[in-house]
């Protein structure tokens, strides 16, 4: 058995607000093997984004420990950063910057020399179907193109773990399908471990090898989509989800 590339124990984050403490994540455990697509599924406010921000070194946990891409999150955050890619919900693009320049600069920020960074940008642009858009400012991209660029930026350093925070929120069905294909291809071709958060049940079902369902900051169920359905005698993931969380859904395909 290989050691997990992602191994999280008791991860917690409490925000101290004026109105009192908010326990956004409470003692979360999860793990993923190399090359696995792990879906973190939960309603809005379940603590998905907070969890991903902690695992991506952006937010210090208030409790627990984690190994991310073989490095200890608390002892060696710089080592983690060199080995992960992170695509936030908000994306993080400079609207006036041309696509090609964003790609090259991202490589430079990862410490690639100028020529190496250009080569890597060209490679990713060809691979992610961005080659015709290199001179375009990112503000002029469609939603699907933007997402592809953001994922390309996350892949510049050939990460062992790629974090995608709600990657298809706001995309049209065609772009969603393209993005699912892209995630599968990244995993297949590079053995990248992907942790993606979503509140779309169909997305979790289609894309994830294994799911953790989080609610109110803790894992409430875990397993493959088929396991979860079988365990709760449910025909669809949605029925399983309802049985687990006791929640009504606010959209046919979303939690």
């Amino acid at each position: 058995m290989t050691s997990p590339v992602l191994d999280v124990h008791g991860l917690s984050r409490t925000f101290r607000l004026r109105s009192g403490p908010v326990h956004a994540v409470r003692g979360l455990d999860l793990s993923a093997e190399r090359g696995e697509v792990l879906g973190v599924l939960g309603p809005n406010g379940a603590g998905k984004t907070t969890t991903v921000r902690m695992l991506a070194t952006l937010l210090p946990p208030t409790g627990g420990r984690a190994v991310v891409a073989g490095r200890d999150l608390l002892a060696d955050p710089a080592g983690v950063r060199a080995r992960i890619g992170y695509v936030a919900q908000s994306g993080g693009l400079d609207p006036n910057c041309p696509v090609g320049e964003e790609l090259v600069t991202q490589g430079r920020m990862h410490g690639l020399p100028r020529a190496g960074s250009r080569a890597r940008a060209a490679e990713l642009a060809a691979d992610l179907n961005l080659a015709d858009l290199l001179d375009r400012p990112t503000a002029a991209l469609s939603g699907g193109q933007r997402r592809r660029l953001e994922i390309a930026l996350g892949l510049v350093n050939r990460p062992e773990v790629l974090f995608l925070d709600e990657p298809t929120t706001g995309l049209d069905p065609g772009s969603r399908a393209d993005l699912w294909d892209l995630v599968r291809r990244v995993r297949r071709e590079h053995g990248t471990t992907v942790l993606l958060t979503t509140h779309y049940l169909d997305e979790a079902d289609a894309l994830a090898d294994r799911l953790v369902i989080v609610d109110a900051g803790a894992v409430v169920a875990e397993g493959t989509p088929a396991d979860l359905k079988a365990r709760h005698g449910a025909a669809t993931l949605q029925d399983a989800f309802l049985a687990i969380t006791g929640r009504a859904t606010d959209a046919p395909a979303a939690v």
Partner: protein, 253 residues
């Protein structure tokens, strides 16, 4: 250390390209001091401002400090927008040196403000400014130090406020009294005793007095040295404070 320099260079290059792309920002940043020079300078040109030289030798240094003050104080708006769209987070998830995002931007600001200062001086010469070249060049050192200090503090502030209006309110209310009290547009040599005394608590007062002396060809008198000491101390404070505030912003959501 090498990593810090290389990473600062990467962010400097990125920021400089952003500036060169946005031609409107470049123009409008310059516009205000140019208007002061063209529309207010001539009003003063025949007055004796009691600084020991021509009115232009007192007025242009004031405009340079004003440019550094206003230009430096508001650069935070840029990083605030980048923070809100997630650019800063994206940088923080790379192995980039943690000080590089601020230092690279600050160097861009210093270059931009010194170039704008040089244009301002050239235009001043066209209007009638006469000052020794050595003094003018040394004056740019003061502009650079002051720009660095304010730019760092501005970024530190912008990383710790919630919204752009909040940032603008704080920056505006800080800058206006400081600008008036420092005697930038009109020197404090004209002020009544109480105002002159009050203005001595404002660090920019020492900067502008020093640059005025440089423009008179006095390079090593007490005023210049005091101005250099205060301005360099301000730059050190801005550097330390800005970086501390930037680190702080990374520990909070």
């Amino acid at each position: 250390m090498n990593r810090l320099i290389a990473d600062t260079g990467v962010i400097f290059g990125r920021s400089l390209r952003q500036t060169l792309r946005s031609k409107t920002a470049l123009t409008f940043g310059m516009l205000q001091p140019l208007l002061f020079l063209a529309l207010m300078g001539p009003l003063l040109s025949r007055l004796d401002l009691r600084t020991g030289g021509t009115a232009w030798q007192a007025f242009v240094p004031g405009l340079l400090v004003q440019l550094a003050l206003l230009g430096g104080m508001f650069v935070g708006l840029g990083i605030l927008i980048e923070r809100q769209v997630g650019v800063i987070d994206r940088m923080r998830v790379t192995p980039l040196h943690p000080a590089a995002p601020l230092l690279g931007r600050m160097l861009r600001d210093v270059v931009q403000l010194v170039v704008q200062s040089a244009l301002l001086v050239l235009l001043g010469v066209a209007f009638g400014l006469r000052a020794p070249v050595g003094g003018v060049l040394l004056g740019f050192v003061f502009v650079a130090l002051l720009s660095a200090a304010l730019s760092m503090l501005s970024y530190g502030l912008a990383m710790n406020v919630r919204t752009a209006p909040e940032f603008a309110a704080i920056a505006n209310t800080t800058v206006l009294p400081l600008m008036l009290l420092a005697g930038l547009l009109l020197p404090m040599t004209l002020a009544p005793g109480w105002l002159d005394a009050a203005s001595r608590i404002v660090p920019f007062r020492y900067t502008v007095d020093a640059v005025r002396h440089l423009y008179l060809g006095e390079y090593a008198d007490g005023t210049v040295l005091a101005g250099l000491a205060v301005t360099a101390a301000l730059a050190a404070l801005g550097l330390a404070g800005g970086l501390a505030l930037f680190r702080r912003s990374g520990r909070t959501p």
